[in-house]
């Protein structure tokens, strides 16, 4: 009696009567070598698929991380910069009109710096988009790039008239300021919201569950398991070295991807919780503080008909310091001692700024306009300008800290993926080679 291991009589594959490929395969699967050949083919196919698809999904994860580090991260910062510098430029240009006479050199320098920063951040934001994104003339980028030059033109006309002592300068300044508040700032805010949403999308896709990778890995392991069981049953050999190596490679590949993506997910979650979420709340707080400062200045520029600005100041202040206000949210989110300290300082400085604001309103309402203006734009420690700048500095530093955390976490996440693409491709090749070699060894016995 021949042992099961003995090669059965080899069947010669004769080109029979017209047979379809399915029939051909069915014929093939009736013989052991045929099954072995089918397994080889399946294993090679699965190896290639596992290698390619795992590499592609890992690559897209790496791409999302690259976007976080090089595109959506910096772009949300750029959008924030655009809003901040435009808002500050307008508040500065308006306050120059409070002082009387020519604006001080440092006030002018601050305006120039704001405009330069807004323009460079805008250039970055525009360059990162496809040209088609700019086709809609009402889109935020189109509005910003179209109207910023109109705004600066009006401000310069206002200055030129002001230099000649003509009151029409103030009218040009009002026109400029209303363009800023009605069109430019809302567009900048929209841009900021768009960019922040993109950032969140990139974070989501970078930290998504590696479902495809896991499924492919399991399929590879499954096929290898059945191949080995078949070979063991037909050949009574416990271990087929080639297939064992292939299984090892598949396991390592799956584990590598799992560990790497778990690391990425942890880093990306940290980049969200310790970074971008806090940055967003802090940035909105900074924007609100700027709006409050602009309101404070415009109330005085309007000389008695600025009730709407004072009302807006109250609203913005509530957003900042009210119950569950932005500063309170920022403080409860803060995960870093230094950031928390900055927020505490900002809250204290905001309070002392508001004290001056109350004095300003009292002075202005009781007719002491000169005192009100002095408190608003003076450079002494007791002026609203200096105290507002302190709040702004606190928030800027807190934002810088959370942004650094974000960058660090994203770059760590990128490191976690380093070599993974090459690794899974090499392991897939090892798997394919191991499978072919292992089965070839058995197949030879049929010769």
């Amino acid at each position: 009696m021949s042992a099961p291991t003995a090669p059965p009589p080899a069947r010669v594959d004769e080109p029979g009567p017209p047979a379809g490929r399915v029939a051909e395969l069915r014929e093939l699967s009736k013989t052991t070598p045929g099954v072995l050949i089918l397994f080889t083919a399946a294993l090679v196919l699965v190896s290639v698929l596992v290698g390619v698809f795992t590499a592609v999904t890992v690559q897209s994860r790496a791409q999302a991380l690259d976007d976080l580090a090089g595109s959506s991260g910096p772009l949300s910062i750029a959008a924030q910069d655009i809003y901040r510098s435009l808002s500050d430029a307008d508040a500065t240009a308006n306050s120059a009109f409070l002082a009387g006479g020519l604006e001080a050199a440092d006030v002018r320098a601050r305006y120039d710096a704001d405009i330069a920063q807004a323009e460079s951040a805008l250039a970055v934001a525009v360059a990162a988009r496809e040209p088609a994104d700019l086709a809609d003339p009402t889109g935020p980028l189109a509005v910003l790039s179209g109207k910023l030059s109109v705004y600066t033109g009006l401000v310069e006309t206002a200055r030129a008239n002001n230099h000649q002592g003509l009151p029409i300068g103030a009218a040009y300044q009002r026109e400029a300021s209303s363009l800023m508040r009605d069109e430019l700032l809302p567009a900048a805010e929209q841009l900021y919201r768009d960019e922040t949403a993109r950032l969140a999308d990139d974070q989501d896709s970078a930290s998504s569950l590696p479902v495809v990778e896991i499924l492919l890995g399991l399929v590879a392991l499954g096929v290898l398991f059945f191949a080995q069981r078949f070979v063991r049953r037909r050949t009574r050999r416990r271990l087929n070295t080639g297939l064992a190596i292939a299984t090892g490679a598949a396991l390592v590949s799956l584990l590598w991807v799992l560990i790497a993506t778990a690391g990425v997910a942890a880093n990306v979650d940290a980049s969200r919780d310790d970074g971008s979420t806090q940055t967003d709340v802090l940035a909105r707080a900074r924007i609100a503080a700027l709006a409050a400062r602009a309101d404070e200045t415009l109330t005085l520029v309007a000389r008695g008909s600025g009730a709407e600005f004072e009302e807006d100041y109250g609203k913005v202040r509530d957003q900042l310091t009210g119950d569950r206000g932005l500063l309170e949210q920022a403080a409860s989110l803060a995960s870093d001692g230094a950031v928390r300290d900055k927020i505490t300082a900002a809250t204290a400085n905001l309070r002392s700024w508001h004290e001056v604001h109350v004095d300003i309103r009292t002075a202005d309402d009781s007719g002491d306009y000169a005192k009100a203006v002095g408190l608003t734009i003076g450079r002494g420690d007791d002026s609203a300008a200096v105290r507002f700048d302190k709040v702004d500095t606190n928030l800027r530093e807190a934002i810088a800290a959370t942004t650094t955390t974000f960058d660090d976490e994203v770059s760590q996440a990128s490191n976690a993926l380093t070599g993974t693409v090459i690794g899974v491709i090499l392991l897939a090749l090892v798997m394919a080679a191991g499978s072919v070699a292992g089965i070839w060894q058995r197949l030879k016995e049929y010769r």
């Binding site: 698929l49 592609v56 009387g100 033109g153 003509l166 008695g304 007719g367």
Partner: protein, 330 residues
């Protein structure tokens, strides 16, 4: 050995690789671009007006310029009658006056000093001086034209001195002093524009401050111009300079102030209406009205009116005319 299966596998692999090669390089298509519209924005609050009540069928239900006669001699700052409105104002520390910051030479913000000044401001300071003995005992509240009546009616200010035309409609809500300046409505256009007055501006855009008598006169004039309202008079000049309107029409005094800021404009046409200016005072303060009229009477006779006119207006409008005569209904 090239079985159909391996051939298919290779085909699939090639397909996948090709798909991946393609995913990195999308072409940067420049989309259809709509031509953006350039140009300046409109000043805040600017809008077109094509019809307003009043105007041609002017409200003649009253004798608008007849005010209340001053009684006896004008009391000095230190012997104001007890319980009089003036005594109460003195107690509040300052005279609160609604003024303009956009009318060159009448009420405007001097860009060099940042202070509000002009003919109207000096008029108001004379009233403050009569109550407090101090021309600077004055608290200024800037009002756009549309806010003037309500500010007086609600008691937000003691007085409005802001190129305010006396008419019957406003008299329903506020009392007026005697006439302190007599103006007439004309038209400001760009030089060489070919416009000669309101009659040549049919269908053209003509700017005026919201809720001013000028706007009503524009919209209701026979040639049917399109009215454009803005908050302040300088906003009109901005729109004229930016070619957003074809003309500005209001009192010759205000137009002279605008023309002085732009040598490429000129005032044209005959006056289309008489615009007597008065100081607006709350209706329930006849004692204060009589007091203010007393101060105005003194200014007409002692040369104060003429010197204030010369200080602000003679450069724009030539030598001072005689001060407008007061009319009283007693």
């Amino acid at each position: 050995m090239t079985t159909p299966t391996t051939r298919r596998a290779i085909a699939l692999l090639v397909a996948v690789l090709l798909a991946c090669a393609g995913c990195g390089s999308t072409t940067d298509a420049v989309g259809e671009r709509e031509t953006p519209t350039g140009g300046p924005p409109s000043p805040a609050g600017a809008k077109e007006v094509t019809s307003l009540p009043g105007g041609e069928q002017a409200d003649t239900s009253c004798d608008p310029t007849a005010s209340l006669r001053p009684q006896g001699t004008l009391p000095g700052p230190n012997d104001l009658p007890l319980d009089s409105t003036m005594a109460k104002i003195r107690q509040q520390g300052k005279l609160i006056v609604g003024v303009d910051q956009n009318t060159y030479k009448f009420g405007f913000r001097n860009p060099i000093t940042g202070e509000l000044e002009g003919f109207d401001l000096d008029m108001a300071r004379e009233i403050a001086a009569a109550i407090f003995g101090d021309r600077n005992a004055i608290q200024l509240r800037v009002l756009v034209s549309a806010q003037r009546v309500d500010a007086v009616k609600n008691g937000d200010v003691n007085l409005v001195v802001e190129t305010m035309t006396i008419n019957c409609e406003r008299r329903k809500d506020v009392e007026f002093s005697s006439v302190y300046y007599q103006a007439g409505q004309r038209v400001l256009v760009k030089k060489n524009s070919g416009f000669t007055g309101i009659d040549s501006l049919g269908g053209k855009k003509v700017c005026a401050a919201a809720e001013s008598t000028s706007l009503t006169n524009i919209v209701n004039s026979a040639s049917k111009p399109i009215g454009v309202e803005v908050p302040g008079w300088t906003d009109c000049l901005v729109m004229l300079q930016q070619n957003q309107v074809d003309a500005v029409s209001t009192d010759d005094t205000i137009l002279a102030g605008l023309a002085a800021q732009d040598p490429f404009t000129e005032v044209v046409g005959k006056p289309i209406s008489a615009e007597p200016y008065g100081m607006a005072i709350p209706k329930d303060q006849p004692d204060f009205v009589r007091f203010v009229n007393g101060v105005l009477e003194r200014m007409r006779t002692d040369g104060t009116w003429t010197s204030i006119y010369n200080k602000w207006l003679s450069d724009l409008l030539g030598a001072a005319p005689a001060p407008p005569q007061a009319r009283y209904r007693d």
